[in-house]
Amino acid sequence: MISKLLIAVTVLVVIVFSLCTYTVKETERAILFKFGEIKQDDIKPGLHWKMPFINNERKFDSRILTLDVQPDLFPTNEKKYVYVDYFVKWRIDNVRDYFVATGGLEERANSRLSQITKDDLREEFAKRTIKETVSGERADIMDALVIKANIASKQLGIQIVDLRISRIDYTDDISESVYQRMSAGRDRVAKDFRARGKESSEKIRAAADRERQITLATAYKTSEQLRGDGDATAANIYAQAFGKDKEFYTLTKSLTAYKQTFNSKNDILVLEPNSQFFRYFNQSKPK
C-alpha cells in the first residue's frame, strides 16, 4: 500500500516537475511566453520554472552560425565582373529582437543577412579595382563590412561576428585573357634568362679569345726577337769571315748561287759560246 503510494508520488513528482520546468542548453538562449506574449527574454542556460499551460518557451541556437552565400557576380571599378564567394559568421545577440524580426526562423534571418551584406559588398567592390580587392584591401573591405552590416543587423538582434570573402574569381572570358597575359609574362622571363645566359656566354668566350690572342701575339713578339737575334748574330759571323777577302767571297758565293739556281732539267739555258767556260770550245790554243 505504502510502496504503491511511494511509486505514485514519485511518478507525480516527475510529471509535475517536467511540466513546470524547462532546461536551456549551453548552446541556447530562450524566450518565455505567457499566452504568446514575451514575458522574459535572453534566458540563460540551466533549469528554469514555468507555469504549465500558461507559459511556454522557445529556444534559439546561440552559437555562431554560418551564412554561406551563393557566389555572385560583382562589378568592380574597371567594369569587370568578378565572382565573389563569401560567408558570414553571425550569432543571435538579442533574442527578443531576433524573434520579433525573424519569427525565430533561421532561413529568414539568413536571407535578410544575405541582402544586407550583398548590397554593402557590391558597394565596396564598385569602389575598387580588382587588384585592390584581391590584395591590399581585402582585409579592410571585410572589416568595414562587418561594422557596416552590424548596424543593419542590430535591428534583427543579430551580431555579425565576421564576414570573410573566401573567393574572388574572374569570369571565364577574363580568365582567358589572364592566362594569355600570364603566358606573355612568363615568356618575357624566359627570354630574359636566355638572353642573360647568352650575355654571360659571350663574355666568357670573348675573354677566352682575348687571352688566346694576347698569348699568341706575345709569343710572336718573342719569336721575332729570337729570329732577329739569330739573324744579327749570323750576319756578324758572315761579315767577320767574308770580310777577310771580299773578292773571293763574291766568287764563291756567286758560284754557289749559280749551282743552286740552275739545278733542274726544267731550267733551260740558251747559251752563246763566248764565256770563259767555252774558251777552248772552238780552239785549243792557249789564249
Partner: protein
Amino acid sequence: MPWNSPGNKNDDPWNKNSNNQGPPDLDEIFQNLSRKFGGIFGGKGGGSSAAPSGGNAAGIGLFALIVAGLIWASTGIYTITDGEAGVILQFGEYKELTTPGLHWHMPYPIEELQVVDMQQVRSSKHQTTMLTKDENIVEIILAAQFRIKDAPNYLFNLRDPIVTVKQAMESAIREVAGKSTVDFVLYEGLEVISSNTKTLMQEILDRYNSGIEVTTLNLEKTQPPAQVQNAFDDVIKSREDLERYIEEAEAYANTIVPQSRGEAARITEEATAYKEAIVSKAEGEAERFEALLVEYNKAPEITRERLYLEATQAVYSNTTKIMMDVEGSNNLMYLPLDQLMQNNRAPSGSVNFGSPSSTSTTDNTNPRRSTRGREAR
C-alpha cells in the same frame, strides 16, 4: 531532489506519514531488508514468510526505491582516459571540465557528460584556384591538421566547427596569396605562405572562440593553371638554358686558352730553333770559307779557275741547254720552249726539238750535233 537521495530519506514527508513511528531505525530497515531477502530467496521454507505486514510492504517499496536509486546513481560513474576531456552539463548549462581519471556526475537528467577527444588530429584538405597580387591565377592544394584545444569552446561556440575550419583555411590562403606575387607563391615563398596562412587561420578560428588549434598547415602543391603550364615550364627550362650557355662558354674557354698557350710555346720554340740553326749555319759557312781562303791564298789563280769550271760544269750538267753559236742575231729563230718544257716532264728527261730551219730531228743527248745542224744551214 531530496526525495531521491537515500541519505535524506528522513525528511521525506510521505515516508514519515506511512510509517508513523518517528524516525525509522536503520537496524529495523536492515532487518526488514534481510527478511525480505529471506522471503525472496528462502521461498516458502522460511517461517518469516508467513508474517506479511504493513511495515514489510513499506520495506519492500523502500528497498526497491533504494536499489533503483543506486542503479540510477551508478549511471553517473564515468572515466576519462588520457587525451580526452569530460564536459559536464547541469540541466544543459556548462558546469565543469573534468580531467582524465574516474569520476562521478549526478545522473541524467540532472547532469550530462560529453566526452571530447583532445588528442585526435583531424585534417582538412582543400584544392582551389586563386588570384595573386599580380593578378595571376594559381592552383593550390593545402591541408591543415587541427585538434581541439578547448573542449567547452569547441562544443558551445560554433554550430559547425569542421566547416568553419575549412572556410577559415580557404579565406586565409586566399588572403595570403592575394598579397604575394605568383613567383612567391609558386617557388620562393612556400614556407612563408604556409606559416602566414596558418597564423591567419588560427586568428580567424580564435576570433570565433572555436576551441580549435591548427597544428600544421602544408602547401601540398602550388602550380600554375594547366592553360599556362607550358609557359611556366619554359621558364624553368630557360633557367637551365642560362646555366647551359655559361657551361658551354666555359668549356670553350677551357679548351682554347690552354691550346693557345701550347701554340705560343710552339711559336717560341720554333723561333729559338731558327735562331740556333741560322747561327750554326753561319758559323759553319764562315769556317768553311775561312778554310778555303787559306788554300786560295796559296794559289789564287788556279783555285779560282778550278772553282769556276767546277761550278759551271755542275750547272750545265744538270740543266737543259741550247747552244746558239751564231754570230749576229738578226736571224729569226723559233725555239718551241713550251714543247721543250713538256718533254722534260717525261721520265727519260730527253728533249726532242726541231730547229725551224732543219728537217732532221736531233737527239738532245748530243747537243753539239744539234747546234751543228743549225750551223750547217
